[in-house]
């Protein structure tokens, strides 16, 4: 008995672990652009999924136009950033401090972008194929690219940490978000900070679209598939961008991996949503809000 079952258990643990990395990578990458825009600017961007869509289409189309895949991905990110900046200048900047209106307006934008994509490029695209093989362990295997995505997710979080804490842009952006008036008095061009932060969020969404192009079927609906997951992760994570996104992704990734293992991907999906409902109920400010409370309490005790 013992010689066979112990390796089996190891394989199962590995399987769940890889399921988790996959889910974590997806959630973090899908969320991080939305989290930057929500956490820093207080705008709920319902067109976030459509930024991902633009990134994916930019990548797919330039790949089929003959660019090598990494360059095609860069193109996708660039296109998304430009679109994001244009939308910020024309629409979004009128909606700061109008949280609910921003939701409605960005939903309008998402309708327009989806439909324009459909009209311009049709309902299907040619796949971008990328074969990196897979890692086998016992009876199971996991795609190498999906594991790579989880690693990239961690790298993106690390880079963002560096940008927000170690660069002048990060310092000014955080100052603007915390107290725009004082920041302006100190000589920060706050208007530009808003624009750049939104552009950063759009670029991150574009990156997600570009990275997932080889792993997904790219069609005009791809954005809405990401939107729900990213939305839920932001809400569970709370307004602090980096800690919120990573903890939210980790928590929901664990739940997804566990329930997918127990009852298939449907159960995983629905448990993520139910977990989000419960999370909003018990910690309305997300995990980071809870941590903040806890830290405050500890400080008072001292």
């Amino acid at each position: 008995m013992s010689t066979d079952t112990i390796p089996d258990a190891v394989y199962v643990v590995l399987r769940i672990f890889f399921e988790f990395t996959h889910s974590f990578g997806l959630l973090v990458l899908a969320t991080v652009g939305l989290a930057v825009i929500f956490g820093m600017m207080g705008i709920i961007n319902l067109a976030h999924g459509e930024f991902i869509l633009i990134g994916a289409y930019g990548t797919t189309l330039s790949f089929h136009a003959g660019l090598p895949l990494p360059l095609a991905m860069v193109t996708g990110v660039a296109v998304t950033t430009v679109v994001g900046l244009i939308l910020e200048r024309t629409v979004i900047r009128h909606l700061y401090d109008r949280l609910l209106d921003s939701m409605v307006a960005t939903f309008g934008l998402s309708l327009v972008i989806i439909q324009l994509t459909r009209i311009l490029f049709g309902n299907t695209t040619n796949n971008v194929s990328l074969s990196m093989g897979s890692i086998s362990y016992g009876p199971y295997s996991s795609g190498t690219y999906r594991i790579l995505l989880a690693v990239i997710a961690l790298v993106v979080l690390a880079v963002l940490y560096w940008v927000f804490t170690r660069t002048k842009f990060g310092l000014r952006a955080r100052a603007t978000m915390q107290d725009a008036e004082t920041a302006r008095a100190m000589g920060v061009n706050t208007d530009r900070m808003y624009m750049l932060t939104f552009g950063l969020g759009a670029a991150l969404a574009g990156l997600t679209g570009a990275l997932f192009t080889p792993a997904f079927t790219v069609d005009p609906e791809i954005g809405s598939e990401f939107l729900v997951e990213s939305f839920v992760t932001v809400v569970v994570g709370g307004p602090s961008v980096l800690i919120g996104t990573s903890l939210g992704g980790a928590l929901l990734g664990t739940i997804d991996a566990m329930f997918t293992w127990i009852g298939g991907s449907f159960l995983g999906e629905i448990m993520i949503l139910i977990a989000a409902i419960i999370a909003i109920r018990i910690m309305p400010e997300g995990i980071t809000g809870l941590l903040e409370d806890w830290r405050q309490k500890r400080r008072e005790d001292e």
Binding site: I44, L99, M103
Partner: protein, 368 residues
């Protein structure tokens, strides 16, 4: 006393419960416009034949759904993306009941149970949120997630194990509901199909409209508006704002449930796409464009936008509706209705200034 003035007194007496500071549109001009609009909808099938009434019936059903949102969002500050959840739950419940009891008794029970289930569902969700301290944008997100849970769940109910009595939930294929809207007992009763269904929808919408106007101008309505404006202060004045929000949200759920029953009896069919993100957002769009503090604005916007979508037949419809939405949010944050009212007031003032010598007509307002 002349006949004319006594009619005026009677009209004023009739109008009184439906007017107040919380509704725009409290003048003769407005009520004449209201009566003309209702009349127009009422004679529509007579003018254009019974088949022409099919589409307007659906427009009015979704207008009723949007009204349920206007009530809670415009007057209590609760933006819910989950009205479709109550709408769909009521629709499915009506189907399940009537498929299992295919008689007039079943139809009557179906209506009652469907609306009761939707109301109870709204009450549970509302209790869970408001008594749990969930507020503002988190209410919006939570209600959206509720709709998406239902969507995800109903999509995978295609298998034969998802059967309640005789009723197959049907997954993404949806559920056929052959029962007409009807009331009665056993084999005797009245069924409303075709044009009759249209008139039931119109009647329900008009009655709901008038009742809600009365509610928002009642003491409870004042408390709702106070909660919307400043919850902490209203609480300080001794109002239980948590309960006010729960009650408003539950009423909104009940209205959404009624519209769900009217929807499923209209098309004899319901599927999970009713819970989708796009479907969940349509009531928000109607209310935003029409004016979230105006029931009439919401209704007219709902009818106009659906008509526009039908005329545009597909491809460019969403581009135009989406752009319209962005444009209106940017230029008129409160929607079209308050603008129309201000315009009419300005025109009235200009006219009365012009012929100040003669009898100056009263300032009119036509919106809400």
């Amino acid at each position: 006393m002349s006949v004319k003035s006594s009619i005026g007194v009677l009209a004023n007496r009739l109008r009184e419960p439906f007017e107040g500071p919380n509704t725009i549109g409290n003048t003769n001009g407005f009520w004449i416009g209201f009566l003309l609009t209702v009349l127009l909808f009422a004679i529509y099938p007579i003018l254009f034949g019974p088949y022409a009434a099919l589409n307007p019936a659906q427009f009015l059903v979704f207008a009723l759904l949007a009204v349920s949102l206007t009530f809670i969002w415009g007057f209590c500050g609760i933006l819910s993306f989950g009205q479709v959840a109550f709408f769909g739950v009521a629709g499915y419940t009506f189907g399940i009941v009537t498929i299992n009891i295919p008689t007039y008794t079943g139809a009557t029970l179906g209506i009652i149970i469907a609306v009761a289930v939707a109301t109870a569902f709204a009450a549970v969700i509302g209790y869970f949120m408001f008594y749990g301290g969930v507020r503002d944008v988190y209410v919006t997100i939570l209600t959206l997630v509720v709709a998406l849970v239902l969507h995800t769940f109903m999509e995978q109910t295609a298998g034969s194990q998802w059967t309640i009595g005789e009723a197959h939930l049907g997954g993404y294929n949806g559920m056929n509901v052959p029962q007409d809207l009807a009331v009665g007992f056993g084999e005797t009763g009245v069924a409303f199909d075709g044009v009759a269904h249209y008139y039931v929808v119109l009647f329900t919408l008009v009655v709901t409209y008038l009742l809600l106007r009365a509610v928002v101008n009642s003491r409870f309505g004042y408390a709702m508006v106070a909660t919307r404006e400043d919850e902490a202060r209203t609480e300080m004045f001794g109002y239980n704002t948590t309960f006010i929000k729960l009650a408003a949200f539950t009423v909104g759920g009940a209205i959404a449930g009624i519209s769900g029953v009217l929807f499923v009896t209209w098309g004899a069919y319901i599927n999970p796409s009713q819970f989708e993100l796009v479907a969940a957002t349509m009531p928000v769009i109607y209310a935003s464009i029409g004016g979230r503090k105006s029931f009439a604005g919401t209704i007219l916007a709902a009818v106009a936008i659906q008509y526009l979508e039908l005329q545009l037949t597909g491809e460019w419809a969403f581009v135009i509706v989406g752009s319209l939405l962005v444009l209106i949010i940017l230029t008129m944050p409160d929607g079209i209705a308050p603008r129309v009212r201000n315009l009419v007031l300005a025109v009235g003032e200009w006219r009365s200034n012009r012929d100040r010598s003669g009898q100056s007509p009263p300032a009119e307002e036509v919106s809400d």
